[in-house]
């Protein structure tokens, strides 16, 4: 028995659990849906979610119930719910497991959310590469529809909830909510200018709520066991509930670990994930996916909840914890992440589009020992010029690895550059860069 009681992963940890409808029902599935649909007023469901203190698990950590409340109150037309399953953050793989191993849990959550916000149609925007996941979800939707949990007239209550699974075409940016909407509409996946926010004008110009898979999967449990129960676990009041952390990197047992929020990083890495590979000392870790700044061993005792991590200068983000052991080249690590962001920059706004390629090229040059001291200053300035000046949050995310590595491991950069200066005989940097 694990130290912490799993909630979302509970079913799939049972031996022989296949994720089929029968299995899910046996494990007590769809009870929550039966409990609310037609019995509890939608507004009360929303109130329940607010009371539970559930916050978005996608990255930004926005309170879910509050988000639902942003929908226009007296709006009579079509509303949509979009389930953001475009999990593309490097080092994050929780949604995939939730969808592939226990799809009905997600579907039940979506159905409850749809009921709460009054949407009759929900779209699951699943990452293009998750072929298996989309097949499983499709299958699950068919099963649930046949069983009367979805579709027209859910459970005979007159409520309609239709779920459609849409596979993306392979772009990280489509995890950004407005880009996701554009992509879902069949356009180029570029983020929209906000305002208007999706709550007022989202998919096809209609009020839309976009929630992460893990967020939605929490809903059946909140309904079943009550918001008070949910609010009691984790580190209330701000960070209630459990969180699936995807631990990867130089640890003994990488994988998904569902723990209550508020445990320390040390506990997660050294107890849950079995400690460092080969028991080498830890050098750095990212607490919340690639767009979160790096943290150092000094931060091992930081509690893993939204506020504490933010205070430590990073963010909890999507819960992807990447651990790096002593000996990791931090400049290389920053470049590796930066290359990802460069590849995924959608190209809509100038600072991110041009900045990402500039940063990548400069980092490559430094790593190839052709750097110059003034490059470091340029890097910092460029990062500051990108952050906060772009349409979406991508700009803020992409500078995180550089800024944090420069903050904690600047000597590594300087060493490379000093080496470059020593080696560079009389060659100009430009001439070198050509080859």
């Amino acid at each position: 028995m694990p130290k912490h009681e799993p909630v979302l992963l509970k079913n799939m940890l049972q031996p022989g659990y296949t994720g089929s409808l029968a299995d899910y029902e046996r494990a007590g599935g769809y009870q929550a849906l039966k409990k609310v649909v037609g019995k509890v007023a939608p507004a009360d469901v929303t109130a329940m979610v607010i009371k539970s203190g559930l916050r978005g698990r996608g990255g930004a950590g926005f309170p879910t119930g509050v988000k639902w409340n942003f929908l226009p109150k007296d709006y009579k037309g079509t509303k949509y719910l979009c389930c953001n399953a475009d999990e593309s953050e490097p080092g994050t793989f929780k949604d995939r497991q939730l969808m592939e191993r226990d799809p009905h849990q997600v579907l039940e959550g979506i159905a409850i959310a749809c009921y709460a916000i009054g949407a009759e149609t929900a779209y699951i925007y699943i990452r293009g590469e998750f072929v298996l996941g989309s097949k499983i979800l499709d299958q699950a939707v068919t099963e649930a529809r046949a069983a009367g949990y979805l579709g027209k007239n859910v459970l005979g209550t007159g409520v309609n909830v239709d779920i459609w699974v849409h596979r993306g075409a392979g772009a990280y940016i489509c995890g950004e909510e407005t880009a996701l909407l554009e992509s879902l509409e069949g356009k180029r996946g570029l983020p929209r200018v906000k305002p208007p926010f999706p709550a007022t004008s989202g998919l096809y110009g209609k009020p839309t709520v976009i929630n992460n898979v893990e967020t939605l999967a929490n809903l059946p449990h909140i309904v079943n066991r009550g918001p008070e129960w949910f609010a009691s676990i984790g580190s209330p009041p701000k960070s209630a509930g459990t969180r699936i952390f995807c631990v990867s990197g130089h640890v003994k047992r990488p994988g998904n670990y569902e723990v209550p929020m508020g445990i320390t990083c040390r506990e997660l890495i050294f107890e849950q994930a079995g400690g460092m590979r080969g028991d080498k000392p830890l050098k750095a870790f990212i607490p919340g996916g690639a767009s979160a700044p790096f943290l150092t061993p000094d931060h091992l005792d930081v509690k893993l909840d939204f506020e504490s991590v933010a205070q430590a200068g990073s963010m909890l983000g999507s819960g992807g914890v990447t651990v790096m052991e002593e000996g990791t080249d931090m400049v290389w690590a920053a470049l590796r992440l930066m290359e990802f962001f460069h590849h995924e920059s959608c190209g809509k706004c100038s600072p991110c589009r041009e900045g990402s390629s500039w940063l990548v090229q400069t980092l490559r040059r430094i790593l190839a020992k052709r750097g110059r001291m003034e490059d470091l200053e340029t890097l910092v300035q460029l990062c500051n010029n990108i952050a906060g000046r772009t349409v979406c949050a991508f700009g803020d995310a992409e500078v995180a690895p550089i800024l944090s590595t420069l903050k904690y491991w600047r000597p590594e950069y300087e060493a490379l550059i000093r080496e470059a200066e020593a080696h560079r005989a009389h060659e100009l940097p430009m001439a070198a860069a050509r080859h």
Binding site: R365, N385, A433
Partner: protein, 888 residues
Amino acid sequence: MPNVAVETVKLTIDGQSLTVPKGTLVIEAARQVGVMVPHFCYHPKLKPDANCRMCLVEIEKIPKLQTACSTPVAEGMVVRTATTVVNEAHKSVLEFILANHPLDCPVCDQGGRCDLQDFSHEYTPTTSRFIEVKRVFQKEYFSPLIEKQMNRCVQCLRCVRYCDEVMDVKALAPVNRGTMTEIKHFGTHELDCEFCGGCIQICPVGAITSRLSMYEFRPWMLKRADTVCTYCGDGCQITLQTKDNQLIEVNSSLGAGRNNGDLCARGYFGYHATTHPDRLTTPLVRRDGRLVPATWDEALEYVAETFAQLKLKHGAQVFAGVITARCTNEDLYLFQKFMRLAVGTNKLDSSARYGQVNAVRALCRIQGTHRWPVTFEDIAAAEALLLVGTNITEANPITGLRVKEAVKKHGATLLTVESLQPTVGTISNIANLAAHHFTAHPDQYKPVVLGLIKAVIEEGLADQPLSQKAPAYLQAIRDAVHALSWPTIEAATGSSAASFKEAARAFARTARAVIIVGAGVLREPGASGLAATLQDLLLLTGHHGRPGCGLAPLAEQNNDQGAVEMGTVTECLPGPCDLDDQEARARVSALWQEDLPQGPGLTIPEILEEARGKTLKALYLVGEDPVGSLPESARAKEALEGVEFLVCQELFLTETAQMAHVVLPACSYAEKDGTFTNTEGHVQQVRHAIEPVGESRPDWEIFSDLAGLMGYPLEYGDAKDLLKEIRALVPGYNLPGPTPKPSRPDHTAVDRYLQQGYAEDLGERYRYTPPVKAAGRLTLLVDQSLFHSGKFSTKAKGLLHLQAEGAVSLNPADAARLGIVEGDRVLLSNELGHCRTTAKVWDRIPAGLCRFPEHFDQEARRLLSVSIDVATGVPYYRSAQVKVEKAQ
């Protein structure tokens, strides 16, 4: 425009407080107080996209900088655009944009008028911190007219958005992502679109430039002349840019003219026609059977002398004159004055005869005025639009843009009755935007309109006040449409009764409705009747006479409307007033201090008829080419051969001019001053951009000199003097304002029509007899295409790149049935003759129809027969029944 009380908000920008309407964007508000916020992706015509991040400004109480182009103003907002933080932001964004921008300003045609250049000078240091290698795109051939240099692109997507939002063509799209984002067109072939040139005009940098004028200029060398395009009746203001008396390029600035900076392919790429090397440069006089160059004095004296002799010998009634409606109002006015005074005959006509006369007549009859009751702004603000036989995208593209704006931006309901089917293609199709579309052959417009009227009556949509005001009229229509059964209409049109009813409901229940008719109606038999029937539809639905509603017939030539108003059509005096209107005659002769000639006028077909009968001795043709433009069945050549003395005043040595005794070289619109009256009746200034080519002279000067030599001095200092005289006779020619005032219907005329006027031809108009069609034949429609206008534009090298020869377009099903594939040689034939051409398979052509561009109809014309409207004397020769087969 609708007058709605606008909410306003008060805000402060850089310390200046101002009040602007709610919803205004900060960048627009800033412009109003003279604060320029730098920007690339923002454009007033486009929805904000905020992708360049150049327009960041500081707004009090908002921690992050905001983009001025996407932030609407709010009450009490305090905006700062010139703080250190904002300045730093501008610098940094520019630094990013410049990182990959090549340093090729010296060879870039945009250099000198480039936004990026200007902002760089203003905000950035001279050296860049970017020392990496710039990204380079694969060079791609775009089109013969448009040059694309993606390395210079700043990815503002203005071109893509313009192509979609304004033009509705969607020819361009961004491809790839990140720094490698590239603007491309669809498909592997070269760019194939409307070629409106909008992407070139809207590009803030030199990424998309014109290949026609490439490397020929630097912006600071160009002299500019704002004038009016002559390729259709829309009257777009264009800026002709010249260098050393050479036309270099055409632009149209935002907010200028009736087109608000939008142009079509003809306007943007068609300017080379005026400076074509074939232009006549000296007068030509026929000596020993050959046309030889002569001096102006020789030629004019010869003409004056011969005219005087013929007049002495046969009297004034053996003279006739025809002028093209491409001339300025001043030319047209002086021509009719010359013919009426110096020559002394009413036998004059202009090319407005070919269609515009029908439109003006229908307007005059039921509305009492001869101009549109609406403006372009009313079209854009209309709630319902009915387009009948316009093919508006190709014939009048800029009016078409107003229709697109109404539908796409303001959600108007569009009904189209067109000989085109809605399909997606490389040229925008107005039928795609239609809520209700009726595909109609040219002879089916009438049953469709009758079907709509029947639906209005049967659905009880008829206007209530009308039934009290004119019960007899309403009853007459009721009886007439009752006599038509739905099966008849359904069989005649191929559309169901339900669709008519639905369309009628959509049209009738709106507050602002405009009906636009085009050449499909005005240049087909029964035109004036159908135009009147459409007015009936407006009367029935209660739209007639309401502001912002009415019938808008599209003029085909740039000054068709002016030709009628100048009295240059045979039945009119300047005003336009009826030739027999004694009061008007007195007014005109008082001003001219001369008696007006008595005797009847002659329309163009009648002039040709008289010439054939040898009763016409002298013919003065100004810019008209009957031999080259009328079908052979009109026997123009035979007619002109019978004329004793033929004078042609022309730009080129046309087929008619080759037969002339004297050819006088005239100036094109780019070389003269004057005014044009566009289709909506807006008078606009024409200004010369280059000096006359060769010895050519403005038309009015030639008339004036000729009149002097004939002893009837008509002397004017310049075109402005003429305009002054025109103002005294024709209302609406005072200083042209930025927007026209639409004419208000004259109630006495409307009442006269409602009480008795309708009766004279109502029976005829509401009777439908199905046309007899020979089996196995297709209807050939000789029609205007987007890339040309008349024969004049076929001299423009830019337009010839787009379309250099005629091809007959066939419906895919018809083509398959006939075993014809794209590019096949086909033989078109009927009783009148045959012609060989190339086939083009186009899914926009409905079954049973085939289309041929009129600009290349030298051979196809042989197939056309001419019928003449009894009421208006308009010759119709646009369609024929032909047999199509694969040529052996």
